[in-house]
C-alpha cells in the first residue's frame, strides 16, 4: 500500500514540477542570449491564467477537438507515472514498460494530430502532417535506443533497467554512449525544440506543434501546454535516470528519498543547461532536413545496438 502511495506522490510531484523545469530552461536560455529573464515561476502564472479563462470553439469543432486536451494530458501523466523519478521499484513501473510508455505518447500524438485536422483550416492540417512525419521517424529511433538498453539489462521494465545501470558500477559501455546521443537527439525532436521546431514562435511556415494547437484557447490550451511541459520532463528524466541513475532511491527511507529529490533536481538543472546551449548554437532546420537529422539519430542507435551485440554480449 505504501508503495502505491509513494507512486502517487511521485507522479504528483512530476506533474507539479514540470512547469518549474520549463521555467528553468526559459530562464537559462534568456541568460544565455543576453535577454532579461522572466521569473522561474512564470509558467505557473501562465497556466493559472489560462485555466481561469473561457474557451472559444470553432463552429465546426467536433467532440474530438474537445476531448483531445484531456486525452493528451491524461496519457502524458500516465507516461510520467511510469518513469522512475526519485525512487525505484514502485508498483506503477510494473503496469507499463518502456514500450507502453512510447505507446502512451503515441496515443496522445494521435489525438493531437486529429484535433489539428478537426476544424478544417490549412494550418491545422499542416501541423498534423508534419508532426506525424516527425513522429513516424522519431519513434523507431526512440525504440531502438531503449532496446539497446533493454538488451543490456535484459528487461524492458524501466525500474529494472535503471537499477541495472545503478548496480553495474562505472562501466563504460560503448553502446550506451551511442544510445545516449541518439536518445538526446530524439528527445529534442519529439518535444518540439530547436532545431526541429521552435516552441517560441508562431511563424507560419515553420510551425509544427504550435500549428496543431493554433485553434485552442483557455483551459484547453492550458492542459495542452502543461502536457507538453510534462512530456519534456519525461524525456529528460528518462535520459538522466537511465544513463546516470546515481542518487535515485532504492529504498524508501526519508534520507534516501531526500537524496533522490536532490539528485534528480541537480541532474535536470544540468540537462536543462545542455539543452539551452544546444538550442542557442543551433539554427532552426528546414523541414526536409529533419529526416536527415533523424536518420543520423537512427544510425547512431543502430550502431549502439550492433556494438552491444558484437562487443558486449558473448552469446549464452
Amino acid at each position: 500500500m505504501i508503495g502505491w502511495a509513494m507512486a502517487a506522490v511521485q507522479c504528483l510531484l512530476f506533474v507539479a514540477t514540470a512547469p518549474l523545469f520549463a521555467g528553468w530552461i526559459k530562464r537559462v536560455k534568456c541568460r544565455a542570449q543576453n535577454r532579461a529573464a522572466p521569473s522561474l515561476f512564470q509558467p505557473y502564472r501562465d497556466l493559472t491564467k489560462l485555466l481561469r479563462k473561457g474557451v472559444v470553439l470553432a463552429y465546426d469543432a467536433s467532440w474530438i477537438f474537445r476531448a483531445t486536451p484531456y486525452v493528451v494530458f491524461t496519457t502524458t501523466v500516465l507516461a510520467a507515472a511510469v518513469v522512475p523519478l526519485i525512487a525505484l521499484r514502485l508498483p506503477t513501473s510494473a503496469i507499463a514498460d518502456v514500450i507502453v510508455l512510447v505507446g502512451f505518447l503515441g496515443l496522445g500524438r494521435f489525438f493531437l494530430a486529429l484535433a489539428g485536422m478537426d476544424i478544417g483550416t490549412a494550418f491545422g492540417g499542416m501541423g498534423s502532417s508534419r508532426e506525424m512525419m516527425i513522429g513516424a521517424l522519431a519513434e523507431p529511433v526512440l525504440l531502438m535506443t531503449v532496446f539497446t538498453l533493454a538488451m543490456s539489462a535484459s528487461t524492458t521494465n524501466l525500474s529494472e533497467a535503471v537499477s541495472f545501470t545503478l548496480h553495474g558500477g562505472l562501466v563504460i559501455r560503448p553502446s550506451f554512449l551511442f544510445a545516449l546521443v541518439g536518445l538526446m537527439m530524439v528527445a529534442v525532436a519529439e518535444t518540439g525544440r530547436i532545431p526541429i521546431d521552435n516552441p517560441a514562435t508562431h511563424l507560419e511556415l515553420t510551425m509544427v506543434h504550435e500549428a496543431m494547437i493554433l485553434e485552442y484557447s483557455g483551459r484547453y490550451l492550458a492542459l495542452l501546454e502543461w502536457a507538453s511541459m510534462i512530456k519534456l520532463m519525461v524525456y529528460f528524466v528518462l535520459i538522466a535516470n537511465i544513463f546516470a541513475p546515481w542518487g535515485i532511491a532504492s529504498t524508501t527511507t526519508p534520507t534516501t528519498l531526500a537524496l533522490g529529490v536532490l539528485a534528480i533536481a541537480l541532474k535536470l538543472m544540468l540537462l536543462g543547461i545542455v539543452l539551452v546551449l544546444w538550442e542557442t548554437v543551433m539554427a532552426k532546420m528546414r523541414l526536409f532536413r529533419v529526416p536527415q537529422y533523424l536518420g543520423f539519430a537512427f544510425l547512431l542507435s543502430l550502431l549502439g545496438m550492433l556494438t552491444h551485440v558484437i562487443l558486449e554480449s558473448g552469446g549464452h
Binding site: L57, G106, T121, G125, A136, F288, L302, S313
Partner: protein
C-alpha cells in the same frame, strides 16, 4: 456430443445459406433475412465449437464417406483449427448483421439477378473456409481451398460492369491458382515421402533437410501468395476493394488468415524438424511486407484500397512473429519460440477484428455517401456519429496504440525480438533487433496513415455534395461495427485471459504451453517473467477510464464557452478546399521515401490569355505505381506471352495434327510409366 457436431452445423449453415440464396431472384427477402440469418447461426456455431476445442484441447477426428474410393474425407478438429474457426465465426457473425442493410444499396438498382450470385457465392466462400480449417488430408484441403478461391473470385467480379473489376478478378484468379499449384506440390513432397495423403501420414514422414526445405519453399510461396506477402501482394489491393464491402471485410479479415492457418499447419505441424533459415526467410519477407505495405498504403486515397494495403502490412507483422518463432524453436529456445508464436496468433485474431471493422466502416461510408475517395469526404463525424466512433476504435487499434488490441500483439512481437541475446549466432542476434526497428517504423507510419484517413474522411468540412448529405447507416450495420469495436477493446484490455486460452495451441504444436505469461493472474501479462517485462492492460484502461470520469463528473468552475468562426488568414471565409487533402497530408512522407514508389508527378500551368505573365490555372497530376509491377510482373507477363507465341506455332488448326500430338503424348507417358 463432440465439438465436431458444432463444426458440421457451421458448415451446413453456410451451405444452406448458399442454397437458400438460389431463390433470391424472385424473393429478395430470402437473401436479406434467410441467408444472412443462416450465416449468422453458422458463425455462432463456429465460434462455440472453436472455443470448445480450444479450451478443452485434444484432437477430434472423423471420416466422411465422400471423396475418392480409397480415401474418405478426413476431418480433424484440434485447437489450431478451433482458434481459426473462432476468427472466421466472429467475422461471419458480424457480416451477417451488416449484410442485410448493405444489400439495400444493391436492391434499388434493378439488377436482382446478381443477388443469387452474391448470396450463393458468399455461402460457398464461407463454407470453403470452414472446410479448409477442418481438413485432415491433402485432398479435402485442396478441394476446400479451391472452393474458397473460386467462390471469392465470383464475389470480386460481382460488379463486373466495370472493366477494371473484371481485370482485378482475373488477376486474382490467376494468382490464386499459381499459389494453389505450389501448395499442391508442397503436399506432393510430403505425400510421396509419407506414403499417403492424410495429414497423419505426412506427420510420420521423415524428410531429408533438402526435401524439407523444398516442401517449405513451395508451401511458403503458395500460402504467402494467398496471404499477400511482398512481392506476391499485387492482386490484393486490386481485388479486395472491388468486392462488396462486407465481402472485402471477409476477404481481408478472414481469408488471409486462412492462408496463415495453412502456413502454420504446414510448418509447425506437418513438416517436423524446423530449420532456422526458414525462419530467417519468413522474418525478412515479413519485415519487408510490413514496411512496404504501410508505405504503399500511405500513398492511397481510395479508402478501401488503402485498407487493402494495410492488410499487406499486418500480414507482414504476423509473418515476422512466425519467422521469429521458427528461428527460436529451431535453436531450441522453446519459451521465446512460443512467445513469438503466440504474438503472431494474437495479431492474426486482432487483425481480423480491426480490419473487419474498418472495412465495414468504409462500406458504411460508401453506402451512405457513395464516395470511395478520401479527397471527396470530410466532416462525416457530424453526419455519421456512430460509424465515426467505431471507426475511430478501429483506427486506434490498427495503429497499435494502448490500450487496444493491436498494441498487445505488437508488444508481444517486440518482446519476442528482444529475446535475441539468447541466440548463439551473432548474425541472428544483430538482425533480429533491426527487424524490431522495422516493426517500430511501420507501426509509427501506420499511425500517420490513420490520422490521415480519420482526419480527412471524418473531420474537417465536407468536400463534396454527396458527403454533405450523408446519413447514418441503419441499426444492423451499426450493431455489426459496434460488436467488432467492443471486441477490439476487450481483446486489448484482457490480453492475459486470451493468452491463457491460446495456450493449448503451442501445447499441441511444440509440446509445451506458455510457461509464465499468465502466472501473475489475469491482471498482469508477463511473457517471460515479471522482472523482464510486464504490462497490465486492465490497470492502464482503468486509469484512462478513471481520469475520463474525473473530467466528466467533477464539475469545474463553469467558464464561458463561446463558438466563433476560425481565423481564415484574411481570405474571406474558411472553405473546404483550404483543408489538407489526403495527398497533401502524406506529401512529406512521399518526399522522404521517394525511391520506394514509382511516382509520376506533372504540374501544368496555363498562362492567362490577356496577361501572359499571370498563371490562370494550375493542373496537378499525380500517379503512384507499385514498383513490383514494373520490376517483376511485367517481365514475367512478357515472358509468358513470348513463350505462348512460340508454342503457338505448333497449332496448325487441323484436327489430324492434334490427334498425332495426343498419340505421341500418350506414347511418351506410357514410356515414362513403364
Amino acid at each position: 456430443m463432440s465439438p465436431l457436431v458444432l463444426a458440421y452445423l457451421a458448415l451446413l449453415g453456410a451451405l444452406a445459406s448458399a442454397a437458400l440464396s438460389l431463390g433470391a431472384e424472385r424473393y429478395p427477402g430470402l437473401l436479406r433475412y434467410g441467408s444472412f440469418a443462416l450465416l449468422g447461426a453458422s458463425g455462432i456455431c463456429a465460434v462455440l465449437g472453436g472455443a470448445w476445442v480450444l479450451l478443452s484441447g485434444g484432437r477430434h477426428s472423423a471420416e466422411l464417406a465422400l471423396g475418392l474410393p480409397w480415401l474418405g474425407w478426413q476431418l480433424a478438429f484440434d485447437p489450431l483449427s478451433g482458434f481459426f474457426l473462432i476468427i472466421v465465426g466472429l467475422l461471419v457473425g458480424a457480416v451477417s448483421l451488416y449484410g442485410p442493410g448493405y444489400m439495400r444499396g444493391y436492391l434499388h438498382r434493378r439488377r436482382r439477378e446478381s443477388l443469387v450470385a452474391l448470396g450463393t457465392a458468399t455461402g460457398l466462400f464461407v463454407a470453403g473456409m470452414y472446410l479448409v480449417l477442418l481438413a485432415a488430408d491433402a485432398f479435402v484441403f485442396m478441394v476446400a481451398w479451391e472452393l474458397m478461391s473460386v467462390a471469392s473470385y465470383f464475389l470480386v467480379a460481382y460488379q463486373h460492369q466495370h472493366a477494371a473489376n473484371r481485370r482485378a478478378a482475373l488477376l486474382y484468379l490467376l494468382m490464386a491458382h499459381v499459389g494453389a499449384l505450389a501448395i499442391l506440390l508442397g503436399f506432393g513432397v510430403l505425400a510421396a515421402k509419407g506414403n499417403g495423403f492424410t495429414f497423419e501420414a505426412m506427420r510420420a514422414a521423415t524428410l531429408s533437410p533438402t526435401w524439407a526445405s523444398i516442401a517449405f519453399a513451395l508451401a511458403f510461396f503458395g500460402y504467402g501468395m494467398k496471404a499477400g506477402m511482398v512481392p506476391l501482394h499485387v492482386w490484393l489491393p486490386e481485388a479486395h476493394p472491388v468486392a462488396p464491402s462486407h465481402i472485402s471485410a471477409l476477404m481481408s479479415g478472414v481469408m488471409l488468415k486462412v492462408a496463415i492457418y495453412g502456413l502454420v499447419r504446414f510448418c509447425f505441424d506437418l513438416l517436423g524438424e524446423l530449420q532456422w533459415q526458414w525462419g530467417m526467410t519468413v522474418l525478412v519477407i515479413g519485415a519487408a511486407s510490413a514496411l512496404l505495405g504501410v508505405l504503399y498504403a500511405l500513398m492511397q486515397h481510395d479508402l478501401k484500397r488503402l485498407l487493402a494495403y494495410h492488410s499487406v502490412e499486418n500480414i507482414g507483422i504476423i509473418l515476422m512473429g512466425l519467422g521469429l518463432s521458427i528461428i527460436f524453436l529451431a535453436n531450441d529456445h522453446q519459451v521465446a519460440g512460443i512467445l513469438a508464436m503466440l504474438a503472431a496468433l494474437y495479431h492474426t485474431l486482432n487483425h481480423a477484428l480491426f480490419k473487419g471493422l474498418l472495412f465495414l466502416g468504409a462500406g458504411a461510408v460508401l453506402h451512405s455517401s457513395h464516395e470511395a475517395d478520401l479527397n471527396n469526404m470530410g466532416g462525416l463525424i457530424r453526419r455519421m456519429p456512430h460509424t465515426a466512433l467505431y471507426f475511430l476504435v478501429g483506427c486506434l487499434a490498427i495503429s497499435g496504440l494502448p490500450p487496444l488490441n493491436g498494441f498487445v500483439s505488437e508488444w508481444l512481437t517486440f518482446q519476442a525480438t528482444l529475446q535475441a541475446p539468447v541466440l548463439a549466432s551473432g548474425v541472428l542476434r544483430s538482425i533480429l533487433p533491426v527487424t524490431a526497428a522495422v516493426l517500430a517504423l511501420s507501426a509509427a507510419l501506420a499511425a500517420a496513415c490513420f490520422v490521415k484517413v480519420y482526419g480527412v474522411a471524418f473531420l474537417g468540412q465536407a468536400r463534396s455534395r454527396h458527403t454533405k448529405r450523408a446519413r447514418e447507416v441503419e441499426i444492423g450495420m451499426r450493431a455489426a461495427m459496434a460488436a467488432l469495436a467492443l471486441l477490439c477493446v476487450l481483446f486489448g484490455v484482457f490480453p492475459t485471459t486470451v493468452i491463457g486460452a491460446l495456450g493449448s495451441i503451442p501445447l499441441m504444436l511444440v509440446g509445451q504451453g506458455p510457461p509464465s505469461a499468465t502466472t501473475e493472474g489475469w491482471l498482469w501479462l508477463t511473457p517471460i517473467s515479471p522482472e523482464i517485462a510486464s504490462y497490465s492492460a486492465p490497470l492502464v484502461a482503468l486509469a484512462l477510464v478513471a481520469t475520463a470520469l474525473v473530467f466528466l463528473f467533477v464539475r469545474w468552475r463553469a467558464l464561458p464557452r463561446r463558438r466563433a468562426y476560425p481565423w481564415e488568414c484574411g481570405f474571406g471565409e474558411v472553405n473546404p478546399r483550404m483543408q489538407y487533402t489526403a495527398t497533401a497530408f502524406s506529401m512529406p512522407i512521399r518526399r522522404i521515401f521517394a525511391p520506394v514508389w514509382d511516382v509520376e508527378e506533372r504540374i501544368e500551368e496555363s498562362a492567362d490569355s490577356v496577361q501572359p505573365a499571370q498563371v490562370a490555372s494550375i493542373r496537378h497530376q499525380l500517379h503512384i505505381h507499385d514498383r513490383s509491377w514494373l520490376r517483376i510482373y511485367e517481365p514475367i507477363g512478357r515472358l509468358v506471352i513470348t513463350a505462348a507465341r512460340r508454342v503457338g506455332r505448333i497449332q496448325t488448326g487441323s484436327i489430324h495434327a492434334y490427334l498425332v500430338y495426343s498419340f505421341l503424348t500418350l506414347l511418351l507417358l506410357l514410356w515414362v510409366v513403364t
